[in-house]
């Protein structure tokens, strides 16, 4: 892929509605490599830029199953195989007594997997990211809404894309250096 000196073009909007409409128009125009930045989660925005499925629930489920089976095995093995103690002829595998710890470890692993999975899929921590070079981008965590079309999109053309973004009624369109 040809390396652009430009990471992309950033358009700034004042309201969530403007951003949502702009995102939908951009996707309809055929752009695929884009991202939107908002100070709080905006419903429908991820769909508008063409992001549909998150794998976080699957990771949570895997974590939960790992914790559940691991937690039960942790108690079953010592009591049945590792160091069985016959106390009044009671069963070694007294599974009802193993439920609380199995439950706690299910929750623990599911929670840790969910958080780490979410961070890993989001690529966090990110020590450097070009979008922070955009002017006024610090307002993305305050009260402004941003849409970025990346230069590596196959349809990207510095001139035409800029004109297209201007047509979406933004407050401002600016270059983002890589």
């Amino acid at each position: 892929m040809k390396r652009h000196p430009l990471y992309g073009l950033m358009a700034e909007f004042n309201t969530t509605d403007d951003l949502l409409k702009a995102a939908e128009r951009t996707y309809a125009e055929g752009y695929r490599r884009m991202d939107a930045f908002t100070p709080f989660p905006v419903e429908g925005l991820a769909e508008a830029i063409g992001f549909h499925k998150t794998r976080v629930p699957l990771i949570c489920l895997i974590g939960g199953l790992t914790g559940c089976s691991g937690g039960f095995f942790l108690q079953w093995w010592p009591n049945v195989i590792g160091y069985p103690l016959n106390i009044g002829g009671k069963p070694f595998n007294s599974w009802p007594a193993f439920i609380p710890i199995t439950f706690e470890l299910t929750i623990l692993c599911a929670g840790i997997f969910t958080v780490l999975g979410m961070l890993a899929l989001n690529g966090l921590p990110t020590p450097y990211h070009p979008v922070f070079n955009a002017p006024r981008f610090e307002l993305a965590t305050r009260n402004k809404f941003f849409l970025c079309i990346m230069a590596r999109d196959s349809k990207f053309d510095a001139q035409k894309t800029r004109e297209f973004l201007q047509s979406l009624n933004p407050r401002e369109v600016s270059d983002v250096e890589a």
Partner: protein, 460 residues
């Protein structure tokens, strides 16, 4: 702000969860300025000095305890569980309200949680930290605590997995970990806000590192919200399980006054009761001193007071059932246990507890006027917390001090080190809490922006 309407019945249900006139920018600036630009207040230093002094007393107590041993406490046989276990149950119960606000109310889509969840979660975390301390100190030889953790040792022995005391280790450590994760995940977008608003180089670096490069990307938000929802779904059953396991510590034993099937639900209700009282104790001064009346409105206080009333009634039902079952069971020991609670050497404690937990709150919280009066609520919340501490004292001490054989009966007299540990732990809690409100946003900024957006949409 603090208008005259606060005390009229017209306020309350109609009062918005966010005062009108706020935009994303004003919300952001108001909350972040407390951390970033405002000068540390005289009152903060004053509170911190007292809390830190109490915290140092806790350290001294721990030092004395480690050097001399648990004999410095008033415990004996048969009352082997003294203040340490009372404090443990009290603190962990207080923590539960934070998780309930952040997780359960999120699942129930209660919008009013947005402005109180952050500091309630912080409260949870610090309360669990205080709680975790006491069973460890109570071990007598705390440096051997790792014997409770399953690891392959050279003798091939394992912890007793069928014991509630081992379940406790797993329940409390899971609870602490999940609470920390939940709290930190909730903080990430706000840390990014602080990073972008901070002027000083050091705070930009510190908040920047903690925010991990969060930039509010739509794809990130999508995964983030999903993860947050899943954590809430995991934390809700967890919080119920934790206090259930704590109640198993008692109810699996055969001591009269402990061996009862009503304990798990009654403990969970009691935990929420004392926890919401603590949230009120913290929220009322915070909103006053930091001028946050726009965010934590009378509506919030009213709602929390209603929860206090509801859980208080469940607790009252628990007390009644305990008494009823003692007589209905026909068991001599159970009957004696209840009579001894009400008329024995610790009768005063029992009746003060009934006053604090039932008489005072149940005779006041029914009235909207009182529920919407911050000063009155603050006083009631303190009374409830004292009452809930006394409840655990009654359960632990009066049950143990006279069990089956009169020849084994004894009295329990707390020593100065018992009191030092109790008040010292309050110092630890307040120290951590004051540091939190100084260095982190005490109200979730991004959730308040979302709330403002949502209210605007609803309006039209």
């Amino acid at each position: 702000m603090g208008d005259g309407l606060e005390n009229t019945p017209a306020a309350g249900a109609g009062t918005p969860v966010l005062a009108p006139g706020h935009t994303y920018a004003t919300i952001t600036d108001k909350i972040s300025s407390i951390v970033l630009t405002q000068k540390t207040r005289w009152g903060w230093w004053f509170g911190f000095a007292i809390s830190f002094a109490l915290f140092m007393i806790l350290n001294l107590t721990i030092g004395v305890l480690l050097i001399i041993g648990v004999g410095v406490w008033g415990i004996n046989i048969p009352i082997a569980w003294g203040f340490a276990i009372v404090n443990f149950v009290w603190w962990i119960g207080i923590g539960h309200a934070g998780t309930l606000i952040s997780a359960f109310l999120l699942l129930m889509r209660q919008e009013w949680r947005q402005s109180i969840n952050r500091f309630a979660e912080a409260m949870t975390l610090f309360a669990v930290a205080c709680a975790g301390l006491f069973p460890l100190l109570h071990l007598g030889r705390p440096w051997l605590f790792f014997w409770l953790i399953p690891y392959p040792d050279t003798m091939g022995t394992w912890p007793q997995f069928r014991s509630p005391l081992v379940w406790d280790v797993f329940a409390v450590s899971t609870y602490a970990t999940i609470s920390l994760l939940f709290w930190f995940v909730g903080l990430i977008p706000d840390l990014a806000t602080l990073r972008d608003r901070a002027k000083a180089r050091l705070s930009r670096i510190v908040y920047g590192v903690l925010a991990m490069g969060w930039r509010g990307s739509a794809m990130h938000w999508e995964r983030y919200e999903m993860a947050y929802l899943l954590l809430a779904g995991l934390a809700t059953p967890l919080v119920v399980s934790v206090h259930t396991v704590v109640s198993f510590d008692f109810t699996v034993g055969i001591v009269p006054g402990w061996h009862s099937t009503i304990f798990p639900p009654y403990f969970v209700a009691g935990a929420i009761y004392s926890g919401f009282a603590m949230v009120l104790t913290l929220a009322i001064p915070l909103r006053k001193f930091y001028g946050l009346e726009d965010f934590v409105t009378i509506r919030h206080l009213d709602n929390m007071a209603k929860i206090l009333l509801a859980t208080g009634l469940i607790v009252a039902y628990g007390y009644m059932m305990e008494t009823f079952m003692a007589f209905y069971s026909g068991n001599t020991y159970d009957r004696y246990m209840i009579m001894n609670r009400m008329t024995g050497p610790y009768a005063k404690v029992y009746w003060i507890l009934i006053c604090c937990n039932i008489v005072v709150p149940m005779s006041t919280l029914w009235f909207a006027k009182i529920r919407r009066n911050p000063a009155a609520l603050f006083a009631i919340s303190l009374v409830v917390q004292a009452g809930m501490w006394l409840e655990r004292f009654v359960i632990v001490v009066t049950s143990l001090h006279r069990d089956f054989m009169p020849s084994a009966w004894r009295m329990y007299y707390p020593t100065i080190w018992d009191y030092a540990a109790l008040f010292g732990s309050i110092g630890l809690f307040l120290t951590l809490f004051l540091l939190f409100i100084r260095y982190l946003p005490m109200i979730s900024i991004f959730e308040m922006r979302g709330l403002a957006h949502h209210l605007e949409e609803k309006k039209g």
